[in-house]
């Protein structure tokens, strides 16, 4: 059974023989079911690359990624899309909503390509829109609503299929602080009520403070890990800020 996600010794190189960039350098970690994990790091630290590999959009140079017993690094292209369709949900900074479709239709499309029946689609779609509070705007087009609403719609689309893992790449990056807070609360809710597993990439400490565990990346390596445990969010935020204040210096300073 799929219970956890294991990243084992993953490496990713870019470039050719003469000029190789190591984007990810032997990274290993595990995400347990129902966890809300954050990945933090400065620009160029490799956090989006890591997310893309988990999202099966990018391939590893070496190493393995296991979803339960399935090693996705061994899957062929065709199988990968099926895997993506069945197991993953995405939320991106720029929403990635189809601009020609209304809010509701964006969610419906994600269901129709899984070949579900009309009644089932309508039921699921109605339910997730109610949970995320976007029922009133379901007939609006993306350009007609606020960024926060768009991002909630993207969340609804990602979650409507009950994915094994929700991948979020800077989901609050384009939002104002109020919308960002609402969205993060939504994430926490979903994490608790739907028992959704979430992996969020962010460079914003405030956003990260909503996570239950945070991995810090620097130059393609994990150099630190914070676990929230039973701590207050405010306390956890301070801990994160402490770590971040050190990342400006040498790696050794952080340790």
């Amino acid at each position: 059974m799929y219970d956890n996600i294991r990243v084992c010794d993953v490496e990713k190189y870019y470039g050719n023989d003469s000029n190789v960039t190591k984007a990810i350098d032997r990274v290993s970690f595990t995400v347990e079911r129902g966890e809300f994990v954050g990945v933090m790091g400065a620009s160029g630290s490799g956090k989006t690359t890591l997310l893309n590999m988990l999202a099966t959009i990018d391939r590893v140079t070496s190493g393995h990624i296991f979803y339960g017993d399935t090693d996705i690094t061994e899957l062929k292209d065709e199988k990968l899309s099926d895997f993506r369709k069945e197991n993953l949900g995405f939320v991106f900074q720029d929403y990635n909503l189809l601009d020609t479709l209304t809010m509701e239709e964006n969610i419906v499309l994600a269901l129709t390509i899984r070949k579900e029946g009309k009644a089932e689609i309508q039921r699921k779609c109605g339910e997730i829109m109610r949970i995320l509070g976007i029922e009133e705007i379901k007939n609006k087009f993306p350009y007609q609503v606020s960024g926060g609403q768009k991002q909630r719609c993207a969340c609804a689309r990602a979650l409507v299929n009950r994915p094994r893992l929700l991948l979020a790449d800077e989901p609050t990056g384009a939002l104002d602080s109020r919308s960002a807070q609402t969205l993060l609360e939504t994430f926490t809710d979903m994490n608790h009520s739907l028992n959704a597993t979430i992996l969020m990439v962010t460079h914003d400490a405030f956003s990260a403070s909503y996570c239950s565990r945070i991995l810090f990346l620097k130059d393609g390596r994990i150099f630190h890990e914070l676990v929230r445990g039973k701590k207050e969010r405010r306390v956890f935020l301070n801990e994160i800020l402490d770590v971040l204040s050190l990342t400006g210096g040498e790696l050794s300073d952080a340790r």
Partner: protein, 712 residues
């Protein structure tokens, strides 16, 4: 520096808009090739009526210049919009608007010149092909020969340049209104789907379709249902048709939107929701362009259909029209054709020559029957113009429309059989109390057996009808108009000679210019080889009651060649050339229009594929396989391309089948009404397929290129 930049930009644009560049090359090639027909010295020397071709190609060129100018203008505006960010950057760097405008103009001119030069090279090849076709028509051998007539090149340059001048006329103004912020933002703007009053607007779709059905009914049954067409209804329908072509797209878009809103079953299957939304939003923003493209396609279809009709006529009917090598008419029954025979003997090798009479007996029952029963006359010759009314004999006898002679035309069996033998048909035999009818196939197909309505008197009372003959028999006024009654010699004592004919069978081909020599004899009763209908004869009738008009052309329409002296080998090339004056420009027009319209469609889609590639990435991210995305792209392109093509095919098909029907009816050619449009349709979809394939390949490349780029 600006020059260098311009050249580099041109290289990039040429790559991005390859379809456009290729179309411009094609247009140049076509212009050059068709213009060279006008300036070919051989043709000018050979053909008396070369002016017709000049006029027709000139007319086609006029419309082509306008449409190509529209394409250039469209593309210039389009590229400007796509490159607005780049121009914004130039402004930001401190370039003046004037300089940017000049740079952009220079780029366009360089690109245009490049396409022109490459197009001329293609044009030379095309010229050889067109010339070969034309020379075959004129029954002459064509030797490959590059013709670089100065005037032809100049004319091509002028036409092409004219397109650019027209297109770039107001372009500079666009730069004046520019503002950096707008320019930088323009590229980032997504399409805003504005929906309002969709429920009302969706009715435009059924309304347009109803109008089209009504239009079809009016076209085919208008004369019967609404008591004929008049100028008002024709203009009304044409204006309606143009409106409908445009409004159809607003209706279609709204209809799709309403269907999606209703939650129709189709949207819950696969990527249909995505495709329908794509289609409706694209049509919504592009409805005007789509309407224009539909009009272009419709005109192209019709042009091609007309070209097909006349070219079919060329290949099928012309040989039938002139079965005899030489045939000469004289309204004077005393005339002995001595001068003509002398010329024939002098310039040709005569195998057989035969003079004979076409006779009359003072009756006109066949003429009356045909005039009251053929559809081309309608109820014109019935009393009061009413159906089922009696024949208006007075009107028939006073008419001079030239279809039929004053009296019915007869022939003696011996003459008839002699001619049949000459043409290689089997001779017929008639008993002393029988008669036969030689009638045009076309007329017979319409009338059916009408011998029961006729009473033909021989010397010893009424003759019995013994059958129809329908081989080609020169019945456009020589051996009667439409028909001739054949009676046995022994029963022909009551017939009087009506007019005289001479036919000749030649060994080998008639030399060029033989018809001219015969015309040059210049008999009193003809004008430039054609019977003088208007002048002298009328005067003579007044002077001499016995003399009645004895010339006719039959009821063939659209293509009628009536002349006193028919020399087949001279005539066929001449007529073919005249028909080519319709066929060539129609093809020319159709081809350019299709290419222009397809270029616009293609460029639209390709630039969308670059601008909106994120849509396809999203599809992949939400779990579509690569081949599923490719299938979605194919479907989207297919729908988008098919929309204007199918709509135009529907309109043009209706009209084409209608005019084909008329053409077949009036010319008597035996072809299915669907053939002309069918062939045009296939030709169209051949070109269409090429553009579609090119666009599809480009589209796929654009959206996959992005993914690779994103990964790196």
């Amino acid at each position: 520096m600006l020059g260098k930049l311009a050249v580099r930009n041109v290289k990039r644009s040429a790559k991005d808009y390859l379809v456009y560049v290729i179309t411009m090359m094609l247009v140049t090639a076509l212009m050059f090739a068709f213009n060279s027909i006008l300036f070919s010295p051989d043709i000018r020397r050979r053909i008396d009526m070369a002016g017709i071709m000049t006029a027709m190609i000139g007319l086609a060129t006029f419309f082509i210049v306008i449409i190509v100018a529209w394409l250039i203008n469209y593309m210039v505006r389009f590229m400007l919009e796509k490159r607005s960010r780049e121009f914004g950057t130039y402004l930001l760097l401190g370039m003046k608007k004037k300089e940017i405008a000049r740079l952009y103009m220079r780029e366009n001119v360089i690109m245009g010149m490049g396409a022109f030069i490459a197009g001329m090279a293609m044009g030379v090849l095309l010229q050889q092909m067109i010339m070969a076709v034309l020379y075959t028509m004129l029954q002459e051998n064509y030797h490959l020969k590059l013709q670089f007539n100065r005037w032809c090149i100049l004319m091509t340059v002028c036409c092409y340049g004219g397109c650019y001048v027209l297109a770039l006329f107001r372009c500079k103004r666009r730069f004046k209104k520019m503002n950096i912020r707008d320019l930088m933002d323009a590229g980032n703007k997504n399409e805003e789907v504005k929906e309002s009053h969709e429920r009302v607007k969706q009715w435009l779709l059924p309304l347009s379709l109803v109008f089209l059905i009504f239009f079809g009914v009016w076209l085919f049954f208008g004369a019967a249902l609404f008591g004929g067409w008049n100028g008002g209804t024709v203009i009304g329908f044409l204006v309606g048709l143009i409106l409908v072509i445009y409004l159809f797209y607003i209706g279609l878009s709204s209809f799709i939107i309403c269907y999606i809103r209703r939650g129709g079953a189709l949207i819950y299957k696969g990527q249909n929701l995505f495709l329908l939304r794509q289609l409706s939003s694209k049509i919504r923003t592009m409805w005007f362009t789509m309407g224009t493209l539909t009009s272009l396609f419709t005109i192209a279809f019709l042009g091609c259909t007309v070209a097909m009709m006349f070219s079919d006529y060329q290949s099928k009917a012309l040989e039938d029209k002139f079965p005899f090598d030489v045939q000469i008419n004289s309204p004077d029954v005393e005339y002995d054709f001595s001068e003509e025979i002398q010329i024939l003997n002098e310039y040709t090798e005569v195998k057989d020559i035969y003079p004979y009479y076409i006779c009359e007996n003072g009756t006109d029952q066949v003429n009356v029957w045909l005039r009251t029963h053929l559809r081309c006359f309608g109820t014109m010759y019935r009393k009061g113009g009413k159906e089922d009314a009696e024949a208006d004999l007075e009107k028939i006898r006073n008419t001079d429309d030239g279809s039929y002679c004053r009296f019915d035309t007869y022939m003696k069996l011996s003459d008839y059989n002699y001619l049949r033998k000459m043409l290689g048909y089997q001779e017929i035999s008639l008993k002393a109390d029988e008669y036969a009818l030689h009638i045009k196939n076309r007329v017979y197909r319409e009338t059916g057996d009408f011998a029961g309505h006729l009473t033909v008197e021989g010397d010893a009372g009424e003759l019995k009808f013994a059958g129809y003959h329908m081989e080609s028999f020169s019945q456009d006024g020589h051996n009667g108009g439409d028909y001739v009654i054949v009676v046995p010699d022994e029963s022909a004592g009551n017939l009087r000679p009506y007019y005289k004919e001479l036919v000749a069978d030649l060994k080998g081909r008639a030399p060029a210019g033989l018809a001219d020599r015969l015309d040059d004899i210049g008999r009193d009763d003809e004008v430039y080889g054609h019977l003088d209908m208007a002048g002298d004869l009328d005067d003579e009738i007044e002077e001499d009651e016995e003399m009645v008009p004895n010339s006719c052309f039959g009821t063939d329409q659209i293509i009628v060649y009536a002349a006193v002296n028919l020399v087949r080998d001279n005539l066929i090339p001449e007529v073919k050339y005249m028909l080519s004056a319709i066929v060539f420009p129609c093809f020319y027009l159709g081809f350019v229009f299709v290419c222009v319209a397809l270029t616009v469609l293609s460029v639209q889609q390709l630039s969308d594929s670059a601008k909106y590639k994120f849509r396809y990435d999203i599809l992949r991210k939400i779990g579509l396989r690569k081949n599923e995305v490719a299938a979605a792209v194919a479907k989207q392109l297919f729908l988008y391309y098919l929309c204007p093509a199918v709509f135009a095919a529907g309109i043009a098909g209706t009209v084409a089948i209608f005019i084909s029907g008329k053409f077949i009816f009036y010319t008597g050619i035996s072809t299915s009404v669907f053939q002309y449009f069918g062939v045009s349709f296939l030709l169209f979809f051949g070109i269409y397929g090429l553009y579609f394939a090119a666009t599809y390949a480009g589209f796929q490349r654009n959206i996959t290129l992005h993914t690779r780029y994103e990964l790196l």
